[in-house]
Symmetry: C2
Subunit: 307 residues, 2 copies
């Protein structure tokens, strides 16, 4: 199975789209990379960076003759975009995406997919807190997981082809159904983002503690949350609006557990606190062992260790 | 004002105590560094690392003739330790600590401080998720803040001396009262730690999502929380038991704000989400500008950027 496509159309060239372009170049995984953005300024930046072979503000032009089309805008824009491009998709092409929710993508995009086009939703679990075409880099997907959520009728060969493509870009690939994806990601990504946004907001709102103090003393732990709370606002608004059910379920669990801890503090139940704090330490170890985070203290932030 | 002491006694040689020893050596800020641990194994490790001039399992021996005594065990042990060493403190010595709470330290240690000893509680806002004598390094305090919370009657000269000492170790120093410290730290450190411990616990408990999935897909955001949820369990149990009032107050605010967001998701109020997500991005920028975190994407975790 070759991972190589003729023309790849990236509809959206922000952090993920531009990183895909860099990684495709590195892997030689396409003959032609076409990029689309609805903003001329974004295309101007992309042109300067040179990661695409062609660029257009017209999605129809971008997908013309493409063998792989990837929706890479915020997921809230997928439906309208799919409706526009659907009649112009090449027979036999793969239509995919990089959205952080999958059920909603099947709901919004699926109805427009023409016969003969293979629709395979996908989600690379990778990113940074930066956004836009200049934030992309080829190594973003190295060692990270990409989840494909094909609907049952999907051609196995098309799934294998897309799988090989993401492997060529550096990813490990897993296939699961959309509903499970949305639940798993609610806990590993969506709720953590919401909680990070929330605590940074709470700190910003407190009139009893100044913003200057919050910033100065952020190395006590708070600063860790500000990284993911600096993620793209439009993308994340769309994630929460499109994965309500799973996010609300996990949030309910989180709050229940937090009240349990709050009660332990109020009643000086040190054992409950100690037992949880010991258990969570082991999870960090497993994530490092699985190669999904750095073992360096403080994420290796550059606060050196002299030995 | 010279920052140099004759003998410095570090009661506790875990991450903070051992980092102080390394930083004192680097700065030449003491003629003699004495270390204490109640565990012989810990002293054995410390002996191998060579960061102290003398080591003992007897705190009384450790503080003998010391000009600066620093309590650096978990704060829950401070009272008992203070009672033991108090009669043996040298006239004119400074007694300080590195505990993450300050009101409780004044409550527990203050009553034992003999006349002629300068008691100045302190808290360096620095650390990593690692613990023990081998986790320490000289650069830990560089550019971070150390907060001193002297009680009103404290000698200005002693405060200035301790301030110069922490500056020599690389810190910036701020003086505030203990009550304010405990409130500010509840938001910048204590509640963030509790929330991180909580979400890692919630994820670990979910029977609908496997631990393997949580680990594999942790790069979606979850992994950021596991770092601080890997911090020392004893130390953090003691923090929560000793800063109840402020932690419970801030937790109340956090939960109220989280319910507000939860409701916005349920009712598809995208504007509320978008507005918050935009505001929090600015805080990250301020923390980076203040030199309290790295500007590198993903904390510069080693996922390179090819440009």
């Amino acid at each position: 199975m070759t991972a190589k496509f003729g023309k790849v159309a990236l509809l959206g060239i922000g952090l993920i789209g531009s990183s895909m372009a860099h990684a495709i170049r590195r892997a030689g995984a396409a003959e032609h990379i076409a990029g689309y953005s609805h903003r001329a300024e974004t295309l101007e930046v992309a042109r300067g960076l040179g990661f695409a072979d062609s660029l257009s503000t017209n999605p129809v032009e971008c997908v013309k003759d493409a063998d792989l089309v990837v929706l890479a805008t915020p997921v809230g824009a997928f439906g309208e975009l799919a409706e526009k491009i659907a009649p112009h998709l090449k027979k036999g092409a793969i239509l995919s995406d990089v959205g952080s929710v999958k059920g909603a993508v099947i709901r919004d995009v699926g109805p427009f997919v023409p016969d003969g086009v293979h629709f395979i939703p996908a989600h690379p679990i990778a990113g940074t807190e930066q956004s836009g075409p200049s934030a992309g880099f080829a190594e973003l997907f190295d060692g990270r997981w990409c989840i494909l959520t094909p609907v049952p009728a999907t051609s196995d060969a098309a799934v294998e082809k897309l799988k090989a493509f993401w492997q060529a870009l550096g990813s490990q690939v897993e296939v699961m159904d959309a509903r499970r994806h949305d639940l798993v990601l609610a806990i590993t990504s969506h709720v953590p983002h919401l909680i990070a946004y929330n605590i940074v907001g709470t700190a910003d709102d407190l009139e009893t503690v100044t913003e200057g103090e919050v910033i100065k003393f952020s190395a006590g732990g708070f600063r860790d949350f500000t990284r993911i709370a600096a993620s793209d606002p439009t993308m994340w608004r769309d994630v929460f609006l499109n994965n309500k059910e799973a996010v609300l379920e996990i949030l309910g669990r989180f709050s229940e557990d937090l009240f349990h801890l709050q009660r332990a503090i109020r009643w000086s139940d040190g054992d409950t606190l100690f037992d949880l704090f010991t258990r969570t330490r082991a999870i960090r170890r497993s994530i490092i062992d699985a190669g999904q985070d750095t073992p360096a203290p403080n994420f290796g932030r550059g606060e050196k260790k002299d030995k």
